[in-house]
C-alpha cells in the first residue's frame, strides 16, 4: 500500500509531465521561428511599415511643420487629378515602363538563348554581361553622361561622326533624352532578366527540342512552340519586376537630367521628389506616393490573375 502510495504520485507526475512538456515543446517549436524572425520583423515594421502607414495618414493632411497639421480629407488626392505636371510625368513614366520592359525582356531573351550552356568561355561572357546589373545606378548614370556627351567629341557622337551623322544632343535634347534613359535602363536591366530567363531555359525538357527536330521544325518554330511556352513563368516574373521597378524610376533620371530638359524626362517619382523635398509639401507628395503604391499593387494582382487564367 505504502509502496503504491509512494508510486502513485510519481505515476501521476510522470503521467502529467510529458503532456505538459509536449505542450510546451509544441509551443516552443512554433515560437522559435518567430524568435528568429523577430529582429527582421522589428526592423521592417519600424523602418518600412510604420513610415508607410504614417505616410498614408499624412496624405490626408496639409502638413504644417510647427503648427498642427490641417486635415484636408481627400483634397490632396483630388488635386493629383488636376495636376498637369503630374499627368505629363505619368505619360513619360508609362512610355518608359513599356519601352524598357519590352526592350529589356527581348534583349534578355536573346542573350539568354545565346549564352545558355556550361562551357567556360560562356560563363566568362555571362559574368561580363551581368556586370551592369550589379553596378550602382548613380555610377551608370555618370558613365552614360560621358558616353552620350552632346559635344562633338563625345564618345557616341564621335562614332556617329565616322558614319557621317551630325552630332546629337542626346540628354540635352528634349526629343531624345527620355529615349537615352530608356536605352540606359535596357542596358542595365537586360542582364538581370537574362539570368531569370536562363533559369527558365534550363527547366525546358530537352526531349521537346529533339521531337521538334524530328518533325523538321525550323529554329524560329522551335523558339515559338517550345521555348517560349516553356518559359512563361520566367517571362511573367521578368515583366512583373520590370513594371514595379519601372514605375518608381528615380535615380536614373535624377542623376542624369533631373527631369529636364524642358521637363521631357520628368517621371512620377521625380515629381514626387520635387513636390515633397523641394517645395516641402509632404501631404500632397504622400498622397501621390500612396496612389503610385496602390496602382503598382493593383497591377501586380492583375498580372497574377491574367497569368493564372491563361497559363495556369
Amino acid at each position: 500500500m505504502s509502496d503504491a502510495k509512494v508510486e502513485d504520485p510519481r505515476a501521476n507526475a510522470q503521467g502529467r509531465t510529458p503532456k505538459r512538456r509536449r505542450l510546451s515543446r509544441k509551443f516552443g517549436r512554433s515560437l522559435v521561428p518567430w524568435l528568429y524572425l523577430l529582429p527582421a520583423l522589428v526592423i521592417f515594421s519600424w523602418f518600412k511599415f510604420y513610415p508607410m502607414v504614417l505616410g498614408f495618414v499624412m496624405s490626408f493632411y496639409d502638413i504644417q511643420f510647427y503648427a498642427p497639421s490641417e486635415w484636408v480629407g481627400l483634397a490632396n488626392f483630388s488635386r493629383a487629378f488636376h495636376d498637369t505636371q503630374l499627368m505629363v510625368a505619368i505619360g513619360h513614366t508609362a512610355l518608359y515602363v513599356i519601352a524598357e520592359t519590352f526592350g529589356a525582356a527581348i534583349v534578355a531573351f536573346f542573350l539568354a538563348f545565346a549564352l545558355e550552356g556550361q562551357a567556360r568561355h560562356i560563363r566568362f561572357i555571362r559574368t561580363a554581361i551581368f556586370l551592369p546589373a550589379i553596378t550602382s545606378v548613380a555610377i551608370i548614370a555618370e558613365i552614360w553622361r560621358i558616353f552620350f556627351n552632346s559635344a562633338q567629341y563625345g564618345l557616341v557622337n564621335s562614332f556617329l561622326d565616322l558614319l557621317g551623322i551630325p552630332a546629337q544632343g542626346f540628354l540635352t535634347d528634349p526629343d531624345q533624352a527620355l529615349w537615352v534613359l530608356i536605352l540606359m535602363s535596357i542596358w542595365k536591366n537586360a542582364p538581370y532578366n537574362m539570368v531569370i530567363f536562363l533559369a527558365g531555359l534550363v527547366s525546358i525538357n530537352r526531349e521537346l527540342y529533339d521531337a521538334a527536330d524530328v518533325d523538321g521544325a525550323s529554329l524560329w518554330r522551335k523558339i515559338w512552340h517550345v521555348t517560349l511556352p516553356g518559359i512563361v513563368p520566367a517571362i511573367s516574373v521578368v515583366i512583373m519586376l520590370s513594371f514595379i521597378r519601372g514605375f518608381r524610376v528615380f535615380t536614373e533620371v535624377y542623376a542624369t537630367t533631373g527631369g529636364g530638359p524642358a521637363g521631357s524626362t520628368s517621371t512620377i517619382m521625380t515629381h514626387i521628389y520635387k513636390v515633397g523635398f523641394e517645395q516641402i509639401d509632404y501631404g500632397y507628395a504622400s498622397a501621390v506616393s500612396f496612389m503610385l503604391l496602390a496602382f503598382t499593387v493593383a497591377l501586380t494582382l492583375l498580372h497574377t490573375k491574367i497569368k493564372s487564367k491563361f497559363f495556369g
Binding site: I63, F65, Y66, A67, L171, D173, A262
Partner: protein, 432 residues
C-alpha cells in the same frame, strides 16, 4: 549580463541627465556649411563663448539642409538659431518656424546697412532674421585665354557674346583641339537653378520676375525686355557657345566646367574664389562686373542671415548670439581674411568695416561695388520657393527649345506665376 544591463541603464540616465543640464545653458546653432567652411563658423562661435560664457552646440550640413530642418520641426526639436541663405526667409516664415525680430532688441542693429536689412524683411514688412553677410554675383573670365586672343574685357552683352564665340572657335588654350566653350551655364530645373541664372539677365535687360505695387505684386515675365534676356541666353546655349550639357547642368557641374578649362566664363558668387584660385589659378583668372544689357548693369544680390527659431527657451542668449554675429569682432573673424576657405561673412553687413582695407584683393572690390551699385534681391513675395521652382522649370523649357516662340512661352509662364501669387494672396487685383 546583469551588470552590463545595470551599467547601460545607469550610463543612459547619466547621459540623459547631462543632455538635460546642457540644454539649459547651451545654445544650439545649425548652419548650412561644408566640412571646410564650418571651421569659420566654429571660430566665430568660439569667440562668442569666450566673451559671454554661453556654450554653443553646432550642427553643420551642406546637403538637404532644409529637409533636415523640416524633420526637426516635425519632431519639435528645432535648434535655437539657424544660419542660412537670406532668401529662405519667406519659406521658413511659411513653415511657421521662425520668430519675428525686433530690430531694437539687436545690439548694433543700426550699424547694419539698410540694403542688408531689406533681405531679412518678410512680405508683411516685419523683420524675420538678422542679416550677417551679403554678396552679389560677378563674372569670372579666363584672363590667359582672353589675352591670348587679344580680346578686351566684355562690358556689354554683345562683347560678352563675341568673347564667348572667340573662346569657342579660336582655340584659346592653344592645344590645337576644338574643345573649349565660351561660358559655363547651370540651366537645370533642379532647385530652380535656371531661374537663379536667368535673374541677372532679366534685370540687365530692364525686366524682372514681378513688379511690386501698392496692392501686392504683378507678374512681369511677359514684358518684352524679359524676352530679350531669354533670347540672349538661349542664343549662348543653342549656338553652342556654352559647355555641352548646360541645359541639365547644376552649379555642381558648371563650376568644374570652368575650373577644368572647358569653358572660359562663369557667373558666380565670391564663395568660389578660393576654389578658382586653386584651379585654374589666380594668375589665369579675373573677376569683372557682369556686362551690361539694354537696361544697364545688374546682378543678383544675396545674403546670409541668422534666424531665431520658435520654441526657444532662452531668447536672451539667442539674441545675444545674433547681436554678436553683426559686431565688428565677429564680422572680422567671419571674413576669414588670408584664407581661401569660403568665409561665413562674404561682404560684411556692418558699415564700420571697410572690406577693401581688410581684404587687399581687387576681386573683392568688384563684388563690393556690384552689391552696392547693381545688386537686386529676389522679390520679397511671401514664399519665393515655389515661384523659383516654377520659373526654373519654365526657363529650362524655353532654353531647351531652340526654335520656340519666346514671347508666347513667357506669357504662359507669366500666367503660372500669377497663379502662384494668387495662391499666396498677394496678386494685385488689377491683374486679369
Amino acid at each position: 549580463m546583469k551588470q552590463i544591463w545595470v551599467r547601460t541603464v545607469l550610463g543612459g540616465c547619466l547621459a540623459a541627465g547631462l543632455a538635460a543640464s546642457a540644454s539649459a545653458e547651451t545654445l544650439t546653432v545649425w548652419s548650412r556649411q561644408t566640412e571646410k567652411s564650418s571651421a569659420v563658423v566654429d571660430a566665430v562661435i568660439k569667440a562668442f563663448t569666450d566673451k559671454t560664457g554661453i556654450k554653443v552646440e553646432t550642427f553643420y550640413s551642406s546637403v538637404d539642409f532644409e529637409q533636415r530642418l523640416a524633420r526637426a520641426a516635425a519632431a519639435r526639436q528645432l535648434p535655437n538659431v539657424v544660419i542660412n541663405d537670406a532668401s529662405q526667409v519667406g519659406h521658413m516664415q511659411k513653415m511657421g518656424i521662425i520668430e519675428q525680430i525686433d530690430r531694437d532688441q539687436i545690439e548694433g542693429a543700426d550699424k547694419v546697412s539698410d540694403t542688408a536689412w531689406k533681405s531679412a524683411e518678410g512680405s508683411d514688412g516685419n523683420y524675420y532674421a538678422v542679416p550677417i553677410s551679403a554678396q552679389a554675383f560677378a563674372l569670372f573670365v579666363r584672363k590667359d585665354w582672353r589675352e591670348a586672343l587679344g580680346m578686351e574685357q566684355p562690358k556689354t552683352w554683345e562683347e560678352m557674346r563675341a568673347l564667348a564665340q572667340a573662346f569657342t572657335h579660336d582655340d584659346p588654350d592653344g592645344n590645337g583641339k576644338d574643345d573649349t566653350f565660351g561660358i559655363s551655364i547651370p540651366a537645370s530645373s533642379t532647385r530652380g537653378y535656371a531661374s537663379w541664372f536667368m535673374s541677372h539677365f532679366l534685370w540687365q535687360a530692364g525686366g524682372g520676375f514681378v513688379t511690386k505695387t501698392e496692392n501686392g505684386f504683378l507678374p512681369a515675365l511677359d514684358q518684352p525686355e524679359n524676352a530679350q534676356a531669354v533670347e540672349f541666353v538661349r542664343g549662348l546655349i543653342c549656338d553652342g557657345l556654352s559647355q555641352p550639357g548646360a541645359i541639365n547642368a547644376t552649379t555642381a557641374d558648371s563650376l568644374p566646367a570652368f575650373r577644368s578649362g572647358q569653358a572660359g566664363m562663369l557667373v558666380d558668387g565670391p564663395y568660389d574664389l578660393g576654389e578658382i584660385a586653386k584651379e585654374p589659378g589666380l594668375d589665369k583668372t579675373e573677376v569683372i562686373v557682369l556686362p551690361a544689357g539694354p537696361g544697364g548693369i545688374a546682378a543678383l544680390a544675396e545674403g546670409t542671415s541668422a534666424y531665431m527659431l520658435k520654441g526657444n527657451k532662452d531668447k536672451d542668449a539667442a539674441l545675444q548670439f545674433m547681436s554678436f554675429l553683426i559686431s565688428p569682432e565677429a564680422q572680422e573673424i567671419g571674413m576669414n581674411v588670408g584664407s581661401e576657405v569660403t568665409p561665413l561673412v562674404r561682404l560684411p553687413v556692418n558699415e564700420d568695416i571697410d572690406v577693401l582695407k581688410m581684404r587687399n584683393d581687387p576681386r573683392w572690390e568688384v563684388y563690393q561695388k556690384t552689391f552696392q551699385d547693381y545688386g537686386h534681391y529676389m522679390p520679397s513675395v511671401p514664399d519665393w520657393t515655389p515661384i523659383r521652382q516654377m520659373t526654373g522649370e519654365g526657363f529650362n523649357t524655353i532654353l531647351a527649345q531652340c526654335d520656340g516662340d519666346i514671347p508666347a512661352q513667357l506669357a504662359g509662364l507669366n500666367d503660372q506665376v500669377a497663379d502662384a501669387l494668387r495662391d499666396q494672396d498677394v496678386l494685385d487685383p488689377s491683374y486679369n
